[in-house]
C-alpha cells in the first residue's frame, strides 16, 4: 500500500498549514528523516520529514497551497511498489486514508523536525480534537481555544459545558495555567480585522498575509486592547559594562564566544527576578500566577526570504545560566529562526520578553507586551553622549531602556524598583559574572 502523507498538526492551535516549498518532486527516492517540505503554520515555518522509505509517487498540493490538517498532501510508494501506479491510485489512496490518522499520531508518516512533544490536551488521542458540533460553534463565537480544554464527554469529547466553563473562566479573565510556566492561554482574540474599511487606490498593491503575520496581528491587537499598558524608562551608564565586555570578548575570542550587550541585559533582567517576582508573572483574571522558572524571550526578526516578521525565542532558566550559555543559546536560536525556523518548543513559555533595536541605532522605543507576560523591556543603542559625572561634564556611553507593563500586575513604583535593580546589575557588571 502506498503511504498517504497528510498535513500534520505542528502546533497546538494549528488548523491548517501551507506548504511553502517542496523539497522533493515526484519520482524522487526518499528515506526516513528526509525533509519533504517546509510547512508554514500559524506560528512558524517548519520542516516536515518522512517516516517512510520509498519513492514520491504524487504531490497532491502545490507550493503555496493551504490545507486543513489531515488533508492528504503527498503519496509515497513503499516496498518496491510501482510509483506510477501508486500515484495513479491517488484518489483512492487519499480517500482511503482515515482522516483521524492524520494529526499527531505517532505512527504518522510525518513528523516535525526534532519530534516535538506538543502540549496539546489532545495529543494522547492521536486524533483531531473530539468536539460536539455545538461546542465547536460556541468556541468560535466565544473565542475559546478548544485545544486548551480537556473534554468531559465520552472519550474526552469537548462538549457544551466545557466551553461554557471555559468562557466563564475567561469572562472573569482567568484561564487555568496547566503548569506554572505554561502560557496563560490566549484570551479572546478580538478581530485582527481592519477596524476601518480600507480601499485599494490607484498604484496600490495587495500583499498576501502569512500565517505568522496573522498571528502577530491577532496577538498584538489582543495584547494592546486588553492589557492596561504603561511605560517607565530609565537611562543606564554602560561604560563599565562595555569595558568589561571588551576585556571578556578579547579573552573568549579563541573559544569562539562573543558576548553581546543584549546577553548582559538578558542576564541582568533575569537575575533581577529574584527580588522582583511580579515581573515574572501573569495576570490570570482573578489571581496572579508567579512563574517558577525565569524564561526570557528575545524578539528575533526574520529575514525577508523567510517571509519576514518576528518570533520570540526563549532562553529557558535564564537566571541560572551564565553569560556564556545565554550567548550560545541566543545565537543558536537566532540562527535557527533565520534559517530553518523555530519549533514550538523554542517559542513557548516565555515569562518576560526583551526587544532590542540597539543594533539598528535606535535611541529609544516602546514595545507591546507579549501575552501572557506582564512586562517587556525595549532597549535602544548604547550611545556616547555628553554626561555629567561627579559634577564634571564628560563623554559617557548610555543606553535608554523602556519597560512596558501590565498595570493589573505591576504598579509604577514596582517598575521603578525593578529598573533600579537592573541598573545596578548593568552598572556594576561584575555582579553578572557570578
Amino acid at each position: 500500500m502506498p503511504t498517504t502523507v497528510t498535513m500534520p498538526r505542528l502546533s497546538d492551535t494549528m488548523e491548517a498549514g501551507t506548504v511553502i516549498k517542496w523539497h522533493v518532486k515526484e519520482g524522487d527516492t526518499v528515506a526516513t528523516g528526509d525533509v519533504l517540505a517546509d510547512v508554514e503554520t500559524d506560528k512558524a515555518t517548519m520542516e516536515m520529514q518522512t517516516y517512510d522509505d520509498g519513492v514520491v509517487a504524487k504531490l497532491l498540493i502545490g507550493a503555496g497551497d493551504r490545507v486543513a490538517i489531515g488533508t492528504p498532501i503527498a503519496v509515497i510508494a513503499v516496498d518496491g511498489e510501482d510509483a506510477s501506479s501508486a500515484g495513479a491510485a491517488k484518489p483512492a489512496a487519499a480517500a482511503a486514508a482515515p482522516a483521524p490518522r492524520a494529526a499527531a499520531s505517532t505512527d504518522s508518516p510525518v513528523a516535525v523536525t526534532g519530534t516535538v512533544v506538543m502540549p496539546s490536551a489532545h495529543a494522547d488521542t492521536g486524533a483531531r480534537a473530539r468536539i460536539s458540533p455545538v461546542a465547536r460553534r460556541m468556541a468560535e463565537e466565544l473565542g475559546v481555544d478548544i485545544n486548551s480544554l480537556r473534554g468531559t464527554g465520552p472519550g474526552g469529547r469537548v462538549i457544551k459545558r466545557d466551553i461554557e466553563a471555559a468562557a466563564t473562566r475567561k469572562g472573569s479573565g482567568a484561564v487555568a495555567a496547566p503548569a506554572s510556566i505554561m502560557p496563560v492561554v490566549a484570551a479572546p482574540a478580538p478581530a485582527a480585522a481592519a477596524s476601518m474599511p480600507v480601499v485599494a487606490g490607484p498604484g496600490s498593491r495587495e500583499v498576501a498575509v502569512s500565517g505568522m503575520r496573522q498571528t502577530i496581528a491577532r496577538r498584538l491587537v489582543e495584547s494592546k486592547s486588553t492589557i492596561p499598558h504603561y511605560q517607565v524608562s530609565m537611562r543606564f551608564n554602560m561604560d563599565p559594562l562595555l569595558e568589561l565586555r571588551k576585556m571578556l570578548n578579547a579573552q573568549l575570542e579563541p573559544q569562539g564566544v562573543k558576548l553581546s550587550v543584549n546577553d548582559f541585559i538578558v542576564r541582568a533582567c533575569a537575575l533581577a527576578m529574584a527580588q522582583h517576582p511580579y515581573f515574572n508573572a501573569s495576570w490570570a483574571g482573578d489571581r496572579i500566577i508567579i512563574h517558577g522558572e525565569v524564561n526570557v524571550g528575545v524578539a528575533v526578526s526574520l529575514p525577508a526570504e523567510r517571509g519576514g516578521g518576528l518570533v520570540v525565542a526563549v532562553i529557558r532558566n535564564a537566571d541560572q545560566k551564565g553569560l556564556r550559555q545565554i550567548s550560545l543559546d541566543t545565537r543558536a536560536l537566532a540562527e535557527k529562526a533565520r534559517t530553518r525556523g523555530l519549533g514550538p518548543e523554542d517559542m513557548m513559555g516565555a515569562t518576560f520578553t526583551i526587544s532590542n533595536l540597539g543594533m539598528y541605532g535606535v535611541d529609544h522605543f516602546t514595545a507591546i507586551i507579549n501575552p501572557p507576560n506582564s512586562a517587556i523591556l525595549a532597549c535602544g543603542a548604547a550611545v556616547e553622549r555628553p554626561v555629567v559625572r561627579n559634577s564634571q561634564l564628560c563623554v559617557g556611553t548610555e543606553l535608554d531602556a523602556t519597560l512596558s507593563l501590565d498595570h493589573r500586575v505591576i504598579d509604577g513604583a514596582m517598575a521603578a524598583e525593578y529598573l533600579t535593580t537592573v541598573r545596578h546589575n548593568l552598572e556594576n557588571p561584575a555582579t553578572l559574572l557570578v
Partner: protein, 339 residues
C-alpha cells in the same frame, strides 16, 4: 359550510370528558354537519362499539350511516375506499390497527396512491381509525404499532393524538381532509379524561404543540408516549433538568420546524416513539434533526423505542418493553452527559 375557528381548547374548555367521548363528539358533529360522512366497522352499531367509542350513534344516525360489518377488514376497507372515490367520506373503525394488516392492500396500495394513479380524477377522503400499540397484555399479534410501517407510504396523513382535546380537534380535521388519514388511538388512553370544548374546532395537521416548556433538553413524541414524556419531565425536573416536551400530533405531515426551534434552544434532542426503532418515525425525526441542527447539537439525538422484540404478553415484560418514563429519564441523562 359553517365557520370553524381554530382554537386552543385548553384555554376555553371547562368540562371534562373521556378520550372516547371526544372522538365520538367529533364524528357525530361532523355527521350532523355533512351527510356524506358515515362510520363502518366491526361492532360499531348494535354493540355500541367494541370500546364504546360509537355509543349511541346508531340511535341518532340509523343503520344506513352506522354500519356493522363482517369480520373482513380487507372487504370493508376496500368497500369504503370505493365509496370515498365516489365522493362519500367514510370513517373506517379497525377494532385494532393490528387487524388492519389483513387490509394492507386496500389501505396502503390503493387509498394513498389513488389521487396520483388516477391523475387527479379520484381522491380518497377517508379516515381509518382504531387502537394502536400495546393495549395491555394482548400478546404480540394484537399489540401492533403501525406508525413505522404505514408512515413510510407517501400520500397518506397520520394523526396520533395524546389527549382528549387533540383527539376531537384532530378527528374533525381528519374527516374534513381530502386525503386518507390514518388515525391512531390507544386502548390505554380511551378512558383518559380531559377538558374538551363543546363546539367544533380544528387542530391543524403538521403543527406540534409544546406540552411542557423547558430549556435543557427537547423531548419529541406523539401519541401515548407523550404522557410518558410528561412523567419523565416531572421526574427529571427534580434533578434540575428542564425538559421541553413536544407533542407532534401528526407525523405526516411532520412539524420539523418546531422541533428545530426547540433543539436550537436546548442543544439536545431525545425522540420517544413506541414503534420499533429500525426505520421508524423516531429514526426519521433523528435524521432530520441531524440535518437541520447539526451545528446546534452537543450530542447525537437519542431515541427511546419499544424494545426490538415482539411485544411480550407478561405484564412486567410488557411494561419494560415500552418506552416508559424510566427509560426516557435514562436517555435524557445520557444525552446530557449526566449518566
Amino acid at each position: 359550510m359553517s365557520t370553524v375557528t381554530v382554537i386552543d381548547p385548553t384555554m376555553t374548555a371547562t368540562r371534562e370528558i373521556e378520550f372516547r367521548d371526544a372522538l365520538r363528539e367529533a364524528m357525530s358533529q361532523e355527521m350532523r354537519r355533512d351527510p356524506r360522512v358515515f362510520l363502518l366497522g366491526e361492532e360499531v352499531a348494535q354493540y355500541n362499539g367494541a370500546y364504546k367509542v360509537s355509543k349511541g350513534m346508531l340511535d341518532e344516525f340509523g343503520p344506513r350511516r352506522i354500519i356493522d360489518t363482517p369480520i373482513s377488514e380487507s372487504g370493508f376497507a376496500g368497500m369504503a375506499i370505493g365509496a370515498a372515490m365516489m365522493g362519500l367520506r367514510p370513517i373506517v373503525e379497525f377494532m385494532s390497527w393490528s387487524f388492519s394488516l389483513v387490509a394492507a392492500d386496500p389501505i396502503l396500495n390503493n387509498a394513498p396512491k389513488m389521487l396520483y394513479m388516477s391523475g387527479g380524477q379520484f381522491g380518497c377522503p377517508i379516515v381509518f381509525r382504531g387502537n394502536d400499540g400495546a393495549g395491555g397484555q394482548l400478546g404480540s399479534t394484537h399489540s401492533w404499532c403501525v406508525e413505522g410501517l404505514y408512515s413510510n407510504v407517501p400520500g397518506l396523513k397520520m394523526a396520533i393524538p395524546s389527549c382528549p382535546e387533540d383527539a376531537k380537534g384532530l378527528m374533525t380535521t381528519a374527516i374534513r381532509d381530502d386525503d386518507p388519514v390514518f388515525f391512531l388511538e390507544s386502548e390505554r388512553m380511551l378512558g383518559m379524561k380531559g377538558h374538551v370544548p363543546e363546539g367544533d374546532y380544528l387542530v391543524p395537521f403538521g403543527q406540534a404543540k409544546v406540552r411542557r416548556e423547558g430549556t435543557d433538553c427537547t423531548l419529541v413524541s406523539f401519541g401515548r408516549p407523550v404522557n410518558f414524556c410528561l412523567d419523565a419531565a416531572a421526574e427529571l425536573a427534580k434533578e434540575g433538568i428542564s425538559c421541553e416536551v413536544l407533542d407532534m400530533r401528526t407525523i405526516r405531515p411532520l412539524d420539523i420546524d418546531s422541533i428545530v426551534r426547540s433543539v436550537r434552544k436546548t442543544n439536545y434532542g431525545v425522540v420517544v416513539d413506541q414503534s420499533w426503532s429500525f426505520g421508524s418515525p423516531g429514526s426519521e425525526v433523528a435524521s432530520q434533526v441531524h440535518q437541520h441542527c447539526f451545528d446546534d447539537l452537543d450530542n447525537f439525538v437519542h431515541r427511546v423505542h419499544s424494545a426490538d422484540v415482539p411485544t411480550p404478553y407478561a405484564f412486567n415484560l410488557e411494561q419494560e418493553y415500552l418506552p416508559n418514563a424510566r427509560r426516557i429519564c435514562e436517555a435524557v441523562r445520557s444525552c446530557l452527559y449526566r449518566a
